[in-house]
Symmetry: C2
Subunit: 134 residues, 2 copies
Amino acid sequence: MERNTRQRSAIRAAIAQANRPLLPQEVLDAAQQEVPGLGIATVYRNLKALVEEGELQAVHLPGENPRFELVGHKHHHHFQCRQCQRVFDVHGCPGNLSRLAPKGFVVEDHDLTLYGRCTSCVPAARAARGEPAK
Amino acid sequence: MERNTRQRSAIRAAIAQANRPLLPQEVLDAAQQEVPGLGIATVYRNLKALVEEGELQAVHLPGENPRFELVGHKHHHHFQCRQCQRVFDVHGCPGNLSRLAPKGFVVEDHDLTLYGRCTSCVPAARAARGEPAK
DNA sequence: GTAGCTGCAAATTCTTTGCAGTTGT
DNA sequence: ACAACTGCAAAGAATTTGCAGCTAC
């Protein structure tokens, strides 16, 4: 049977409160404010368990370490800010992409990652180029 | 100045002869048939150098270690077969995806990975379900 | 009371780096 | 000659695992 430990609650809460997928280290940092002695191994063990229970899902971006978020309802994609490296959910989808595959290939699914600047970093980039804020 | 070592030639040849992106370990295995004493560190160093020279490009798929292939000409994406795990180039692109990002976000680029069955594996999957070949 | 959980440290896996010896030009 | 390159082994970074003590139920 599974237990309700302080550690697991803190890990769950950390992810629920973030509005974006978190790296294991980010989960640790957030959860340690509630449970100071928390260890990274416990974070990994709980992330794995929560994914298996279906409460969390792993978000894999190309060339990035896995992040974790609450299981959402719909198919969605991600956006990574090239300045702050944070990842955000994108609730849109280009739609049917079967036409892109070579003839004879069957497309069942897809992953899409957008790259650019998030709202917080757009003004910073503009300022760095000496442009006035919009 | 850059040198033409046996090791570098073997690494180049291994990648040129494979018709798919290779993992560093696969490059090592292939290149060692020509240069038996070759070490993995040399493979990594040369892969990095060849990418910087623009001869190779890294292929990052979500949750996968990086693979390396000869540089292609255009922006393109990848298709991974869920049965044989092989990766293929996709020379199409959904186009401008800015509309998908949240308001205030600036989209500069994107990565797309399609998943499904490649031509070789579609008949196998059909057969496994007891369906007649088309 | 006890099975599951936790923290710590050691082990794994993939990749990078330091170093002393080797080699292409 | 001599700077670039190589193999080896050690160092790193991310993740997993072994273990003895702790704790929810």
